[in-house]
Amino acid sequence: MEEEAPMIARDLILASIRNALAVTGQEAPRRRIVAERLAAHPVGVVPARGTLAPRQRLALFARMLEDAAGTLASVDSVDDVPAAVGEFLRRHNLPLAVRRGEDPVLAAVPWASERTLEISIGASDGEQLTSVSRAFGAVAETGTLVLTSGRDNPTTLNFLPDNHIVVLDARDIVGDFETAIAQLREKFGAEALPRVVNMITGPSRSADIEQTLILGAHGPRRLHVIIVGEP
């Protein structure tokens, strides 16, 4: 009985939609149109600002990120990441401790070079003040980071700590959302996206009290991006 009810509702809704559209759902041309669109996923209007050359793309990403109240540091290689993390933590008087996932790029960072920096690995339980993630990529047109869930970069690290540091390879910055989507599809397949894809544009905020914009609503108060290398 309990299992039956949902099927009835499903059929009722589909029948009601088909009745309203005056279709049966069996029309071959309609089915073809839908199948083709899902398979071909055509690209629509892409803003010109999303199609810049690598150097300008990086500059646009930096500008849009800062407009969204994110901050930024540039380093030559992953070897310089620990110093950049230490610099950020000291600047904000934060404890020299970060939590990260098992991402191979982050695992290859020579963390010991920043001697007093304490590193822990795993998801967040809300006790950590600062986390470090590696971005899957970033979109220049709006200064948006793209992060994917899993053991390498647990989702809780993006939301529970007060400060979120994101390591981003300069070559992973793309111009527009469509390119980022194509890369996701290429890496995971459209039928097997990671459990969560987070697109993050700046630190958490709210304007719910008299429309006064305040940073750090429920997610991180600070979003700091360390860009590694050249585009």
């Binding site: 509702a9 009722l12 589909l14 989702t155 544009t201 304007a207 009290i209």
Partner: protein, 473 residues
């Protein structure tokens, strides 16, 4: 927090809203902030108008093939280990949520912002059944502790002043020192953050809405700024998504098109802070995320709208631009509309969902200035749709006798152009004479009810017909 509609008492609601000094003080921010911000970001994107066309076309295409996209979506969700539940009515949706919560042994439920949640009155229902729902969006949290409905679809507490929020926090957060300072909104936010952080970590189930459902991938999407929606769906053992049939979009590329007009139209941001695609439950090896992922797809009258003249309304992406630009909303706020969807989109949608007999006044609450349609990111012809409702209201004899008598009188003159001109010419001339100085009247005999809350513009001197004749010469 009952979501029983008071739309039938619209006129009383309006009178109360106009006389409410705190509401009027809070509302002035709407007109100033939202309009300027939207314009600024829209002007910065040369492709904005083309993207609006694209968003409209995607929605139209999806609606025309909705049955097939729904089937494709369901198949993908199931393949990823998620569950899709269908709800014909609000009652069905409530029952499904409760059954899931009971099966999971849930005592506390955190909630991200969901207009479908408001539509089905889920909070009241869960509470009545012994489950504690906690709204986690700051604005939604504020109205929950005030037992109110949202007054705006993206800024639910926009009708409140800082002082009112402070009073509510002092009333409810009794575990905190009574002499603490809350002089700045930052302090109130910090307080809410601390209170809600505990709820996030202890909740059994997280319920969110969905801005989109993607047929291609079986993903649901939430678009937020605070990060509360993400904590809501990540930390508990189960994530329940409340969505309605028109949230379907074919592909990720299609979502990219609509996202480019959503935040810009809503808050005037280039992009909201968090756009999250969720696909199924926690995977093998995942260190966090919910073990169960359920999507409840609500119809509640929408499929019937597909076949009629209100189909365009199903394109709505709930950005709130129409109310942000509406002179009627600026004057009365959202609560006067009497149900969960206010402003021009509410004036069209509410009669479809709860009936014209209960909400027939709402489509009349428009000056037909057309700004809502001008800014709508998916180009819904809102004034035209409100006009359809007015026609139906008249046809069904739902409008009051005085209105019908007035229209009859007017039509008597309108069908006799000479008589019409003869009667209106001296009035226009007199009003122009007396209104010459200021160009408007703050009071006029016989229409005091109209001029009490706004000025009456003075005519230019001649009637429209007269000016037309003169200029053609």
């Amino acid at each position: 927090m009952s979501n029983a509609a008071s739309s039938s008492r619209f006129k009383d609601n309006v009178r109360a809203a106009l006389a409410d000094a705190e509401l009027q003080s809070a509302l002035k921010f709407v007109e100033v902030n939202f309009i300027a911000r939207r314009k600024e970001v829209a002007d910065k994107l040369p492709e904005f108008e083309a993207l609006r066309d694209s968003a409209r076309d995607i929605k139209n295409h999806t609606l025309a093939h909705l049955d097939l996209y729904l089937e494709a979506y369901e198949q993908r969700v199931t393949a990823q280990g998620g569950h899709v539940h269908y709800a014909v009515t609000a009652e069905d949706a409530r029952r499904i949520v409760l059954e899931l919560c009971r099966k999971l042994g849930a005592k506390t439920v955190t909630k991200g912002k969901s207009m479908v949640g408001e539509e089905i009155g889920i909070n009241d229902f869960l509470e009545a059944n012994g489950i504690v729902p906690v709204e986690t969006d700051l604005g939604e949290y504020i109205i929950q502790i005030r037992h109110e409905m949202p007054s705006h679809i993206i800024a639910p507490a926009v009708h409140l002043t800082k002082a009112q929020v402070e009073a509510d926090f002092r009333r409810v957060h009794t575990h905190l020192p009574p002499d603490r300072s809350m002089a700045e909104p930052e302090m109130m936010l910090a307080e809410a953050r601390a209170v809600l952080r505990e709820k996030f970590l202890s909740a059994d189930v997280g319920i969110t809405g969905a801005n989109f459902l993607i047929a291609e991938t079986g993903s649901s999407i939430i678009v937020t700024n605070e990060g509360n929606g993400d904590l809501t769906q990540t930390l508990p053992k189960a994530h329940i998504v409340l969505a309605s049939i028109e949230k379907l979009v074919p592909t990720m590329e299609d979502v990219a098109q609509i996202l480019r007009v959503l935040a810009r139209s809503a808050t005037g941001q280039e992009m909201s802070v968090y756009t999250t695609l969720s696909t199924g439950p926690r995977r093998a090896g995942d260190p966090d995320g919910p073990n169960e992922y359920h999507v409840i797809i609500l119809d509640n009258g929408r499929s019937a709208m597909l076949g009629g003249e209100f189909r365009d309304m199903l394109r709505c992406i709930r950005c709130g631009a129409c109310m942000n630009h509406c002179p009627v909303y600026h004057a009365i706020g959202g609560h006067a509309y009497g149900w969960v969807y206010p402003g021009p989109m509410g004036a069209v949608l509410t009669p479809s969902l709860i009936g014209l007999d209960k909400a027939g006044n709402l489509p009349n609450a428009s000056t037909f200035c057309g700004r809502c349609e001008e800014v709508c990111p998916v180009r819904i012809p809102l004034p035209k749709l409100m006009r359809h409702w007015r026609e139906r209201e008249f046809e069904r004899h739902l409008s009051p006798a005085t209105v019908r008598a007035g229209l009859k009188l007017w039509s008597f003159f309108a069908r006799r152009p000479r008589l019409y001109g003869f009667a209106t010419r001296p009035v226009a001339w007199l009003l122009a004479l007396f209104g010459r100085g200021r160009g408007r009247f703050s009071w006029l005999p016989l229409v005091g009810g109209w001029t009490r809350h706004r000025d009456f513009p003075a005519p230019q001197g001649a009637t429209f017909q007269g000016q037309w004749r003169k200029r053609r010469r």
